[in-house]
Amino acid sequence: MSASAVADVPGFDNKSPQTEKTTDSLAGQFLSTTNTTPSTARTFFAHRQGFIAALAWGLLGALTLLWPNKPVGFEDWAFTTEFGVAALTIAAIWAALAVLVSAQAQFPRRLLATFRHVAPWLIASAVIFTAWEIFTAKTGSLPPPFFAPPSSLIDAYVNNYARLADSTFNSVKLLFEGVAWGAAVGFTIGVSIGWSRRANYWIHPLLRFLGPLPPTALLPISFFFFPSSHSASVFLIALATGFPVAILSWSGIASVNKAYYDVARTMGASELFLIFRVAIPAALPQVFVGLFMGFGASFVVLIVAEMMGVKSGLGWYLTWAQSYADYVNMYAALILMTLIFSSLISLLFVVRDRMLVWQKGIVKW
């Protein structure tokens, strides 16, 4: 291993005897003493953060286990011990990692980079959890039932996982049906009005007039007109997704460099070729912006529709939990929602990055 490679890795102190041995040439010594001096401080700092993170999680665990919960008039918060043990486990793992790194264990470089990268966030999350635990379970400054300690979330997930899983499945299914329709119809409309003057004449005014109307405003009337609350929700989610997709597909098609068409036409391209091989690929970056916005709008409509009429799904779960004043369960559902929606958006970006590899300076999600 060369001296410079060793010195880049956190925990590999370049003054250690091992490194000295590898730098047997003069040039190597020069490299190890001059080139790496600035990074030594940095790697040592990241290294120290690992220990701080372990310490912070250890404190959280100890505090959870040793400081008795404040009685709140009903039975004690469940899973307090489990939460404390979990915090201590994280602390132990992290401490072990930090020790291994200082002892110059051979880790893959990417793993070390991740270790360095997450350490500050790990410290911050321990601080947040500690404050949360103190203000809820330990002192009760934040009153129950509106506030609950982190350990109670474990309680909510353990006791309601079947219902939560069912709600998640229904939400995702409904969302996909609506988004698929909305994206397909919106894209088709956008491309047609971008391409054809006649389609533009007829559809553009409708889009301009109806597009800005929030789909949620149509909720009561849709539940009345559609045979089921499910189909009404699919329609509204499709509407919410379709509008931005249509507008941005249209603007994408309209802003295609006209010279592309000249080039393709001189080479014998048919109209279909111009649409599918020139206009649409050129418009795709904008189409993805539309999909991104459409996704956001669809989440809003999904949750509102489930709160108002659909008898399943995470939106329904929120109102159901509220009706029992079961706020812990609501937090549990909200956290699940965050995870699902965030993953869906990430998925969209993965698809986009694959389809638009040709773009320069693409934004990373």
């Binding site: 010279a259 000249d262 036409r265 001189t266 014998g268 690929p281 040709w358 320069k360």
Partner: protein, 266 residues
């Protein structure tokens, strides 16, 4: 001598050249402020395999004439024919290379070059032509690159390969080297000439670079400012490959600049 060389090269290649006749062509646009006449009574005859340069002040309408010859727009008046058949629409036998490479950014170099064959629905059988075109412009190894990874000169080479893959009978060049740095420009001028000599197609080149026109073309047509008319015609009867330092070229240059009203600066 040049003609003899061309004849020989043409026999070796399957590519055939077309005759382009521009007869009494006038063209104009309707703008908000009224009619804008761009071309006036243009008569031009390009023999099969001939290299003709159109030279004139910028904005005079040279590029418009190229669009008409390509068939991208119909002329307001007059008639343009290719081998005695009127030109009514674009056709792969007349390919334009624009000032901007206008490569499709979502396609790799190989796919960009394959564009014409794909549009004509013959890509599957003719894949070898794409590789051959790539080789002609010296871009082997860049098949999988995307346009944003290429330099200006490389991008214009790809545009050239994308044109050549169609085996055009007429190559229409609209200031194809206008945006390149001067060294790449000189390099590509020589390459264009040798590609022409090898393939034997007719070339119609628009440029406002006097040296470029004289170095490359057999005949230089000088246009007046808008509405463009043909002001003069100059035969460049020099053998290829030409040398930029040739005193005859310097003499012709003086003549051309004189015609363009810039004689005193030489």
């Amino acid at each position: 001598m040049v003609v003899a060389l061309l004849k020989k090269q043409q026999d070796e290649n399957t590519a055939v050249a077309s005759r382009i006749r521009v007869e009494q062509v006038s063209h104009g646009f309707d703008t908000l402020t009224g009619r804008l006449d761009v071309l006036e009574d243009i008569d031009l005859d390009i023999a099969p395999g001939e290299f003709v340069a159109l030279l004139g002040p910028s904005g005079c309408g040279k590029s418009t004439l190229l669009r008409l010859v390509a068939g991208l727009e119909p002329a307001s008046a007059g008639c343009i024919t290719q081998d005695d058949k009127p030109i009514t629409r674009p056709d792969p036998s007349r390919i334009v290379v624009f000032q901007d490479p206008t490569l499709f950014p979502w396609r790799t170099v190989w796919d960009n070059i394959a564009l014409g064959l794909e549009a004509q629905g013959i890509l599957k059988q003719e894949k070898a032509r794409v590789d051959a075109a790539l080789q002609k412009v010296g871009l082997e190894g860049f098949e999988k690159s995307y346009p944003h990874q290429l330099s200006g000169g490389m991008a214009q080479r790809v545009a050239l390969a994308r044109a050549l893959v169609n085996n055009p009978k007429v190559l229409i060049l609209d200031e194809p080297l206008g945006k390149l740095d001067s060294l790449t420009r000189l390099e590509l001028q020589s390459e264009l000439v040798s590609l022409w000599l090898k393939n034997g197609f007719s070339v119609l080149l628009v440029t406002h670079d006097v040296e470029e026109a004289l170095f490359m073309a057999q005949r230089v047509i000088i246009f007046t400012p808008r509405p463009a008319k043909i002001a003069a015609e100059l035969a460049v009867d020099l053998p290829y490959p030409r040398h930029r330092g040739d005193p005859k070229l310097a003499g012709l240059r003086h003549e051309v600049l004189d015609r363009l009203g810039l004689g005193t600066s030489w």
